[in-house]
């Protein structure tokens, strides 16, 4: 196999890796916020459920969760899982990352001093207004470094898709390496991950700078 064939074969895997990455972020960033707010709900039952969800998700390996989401419908309900591979994969990733993002958001929300809520109340802000206009912008600013960390971890975690035999870049690297008895595919995959993460770092840094509007 020539290097260019190897690259073009792996390019398909790179696209799929990007697909998992983008879909997971698009799903888990907003879902994480909902989870974080539910985690602070005044209803004990809701708080309890969300707590268990976060605890289970963080306490078990993502690889295992992916297997459960994919095979669960068949083994529990005997549903056909034809065509369910990719949806299960994305569902697993989104629910996993939402739990981590939720805790990051919660940390950010709780770091805002209570005095600000009181001041907002005095000024006649409603609860929603207080959160959307005063709290959230500050939270976003504060949590950026933690979010960057998590997003970079996500880029590398996409390789766990091999569990469900989804042909992302790392599965392909393994398979081409086996058929070509060569380490080159791993080198290509390594460069790909690094470049992808470098792009993430770059983008996040720009966002952090843009958020630094009081300096």
């Amino acid at each position: 196999m020539t290097l260019s064939t190897m690259l073009s074969t792996m390019a398909g895997g790179m696209l799929k890796t990007c697909g998992i990455f983008v879909l997971t972020l698009v799903g888990s960033l907003p879902l994480g916020m909902i989870v974080a707010l539910l985690r602070r709900s005044r209803f004990t039952v809701i708080r309890g459920i969300v707590r268990v969800y976060i605890s289970v998700i963080r306490g078990t390996p993502l690889m295992l969760q992916l297997l459960v989401w994919y095979f669960g419908p068949f083994y529990l309900f005997h549903w056909s899982i034809r065509g369910w591979r990719f949806p299960a994969l994305i569902l697993g990733f989104i629910l996993n990352y939402a739990a981590y993002f939720a805790e990051i958001y919660r940390g950010g929300i709780e770091s805002i001093p209570a005095g600000q809520y009181e001041a907002a109340q005095v000024l006649g802000y409603s609860k929603t207004q207080t959160f959307m206009r005063i709290i959230l912008p500050q939270v976003i600013k504060r949590i950026m470094p933690s979010v960057t960390n998590e997003v970079i971890t996500l880029v590398k975690d996409t390789s766990l898709a091999f569990t469900l035999a989804y042909q992302e870049v790392f599965s392909l690297a393994k398979q081409i390496s086996a058929s070509q008895t060569s380490f080159m595919p791993f080198v290509i995959a390594g460069v790909f991950y690094f470049v992808a993460n470098y792009a993430v770092e770059f983008a996040m840094e720009r966002i952090e700078k843009a958020l630094n509007y009081y300096r």
């Binding site: 064939t5 390019a11 398909g12 696209l15 034809r82 591979r85 206009r133 008895t181």
Partner: protein, 288 residues
Amino acid sequence: MKRTLACILALSMTAAVFAGCTAIPAAAPAAQPAEAVEETAAASEEAAPAGDEGTFVFKHGFDLDYPPYSYIDDNGQTGGFDVEMAQAVCEYYGWTYEAVPFNWDAKDAELNAGSCDCIWSGFTVNGREDDYLWSMPYSDNTQMIMVKKDSGIASLADLEGKAVGVQTSTSAYDLLNDEEGQAELAKTFGSLEVYETYTIAFNDLKAGAIDAIAIDVTSGNYLMSGETDFAYLDEELGSEQYAIGFRKDDQELCDKVNAALEALVADGTYDAIGQKYPDIYNYLTLGK
């Protein structure tokens, strides 16, 4: 003002993420995803029962890590002896062929859940006789010890105190852990190193990190092609047969595939496909 800012932030975050990652694959030359491997996620229509030829979708489950039975070929396409044979069987009946590459460790879950109809990927019968419904065996396989020619290791007894590598979930691995098999021999090794893939084990052998590899002869031949410094010991570790594994209640499909195999042997297709894979040709058993 602040609300719009928050919106813009959320949007730009997503946009940055998109921009950051779509640019990379575009830079790679002639993006050609391995389409043959692509799972038809959209295909929602249920497979018709096996009696209904023409519309039946034959879902071939295999491991893409197992050259030369099922692997990614030099053109970046799904190929291998087992893949070509499965396609030939589909052609024989007019079935639609669907490739279902899976993670070898999850093969039973995939088969039982119906995401594939068979496990056909250099699949060893021995030791699993009662676990699946088996087709006729179509290939022999022997487990051997591969060493460097200048290592001074000439027999199984010489392996005492040496470091031996093996790939996890392979026949050679099972054999070395089976009390009925070669577990006694394995106890004499200095260490038994278990690898994720033989590619890495082979590299360790080259680098001198281990002294020998226990491996299926067919995979071993594939690894050694183009290399001159390696050889097998004369003594075999064990031998076994490959066949196609079906769900136990799938007698009808099993019978059909068996009938197709017989027909493909008779008309020379089996031999013709086998000749494309010189590393395993001598081990193919049907029609000989």
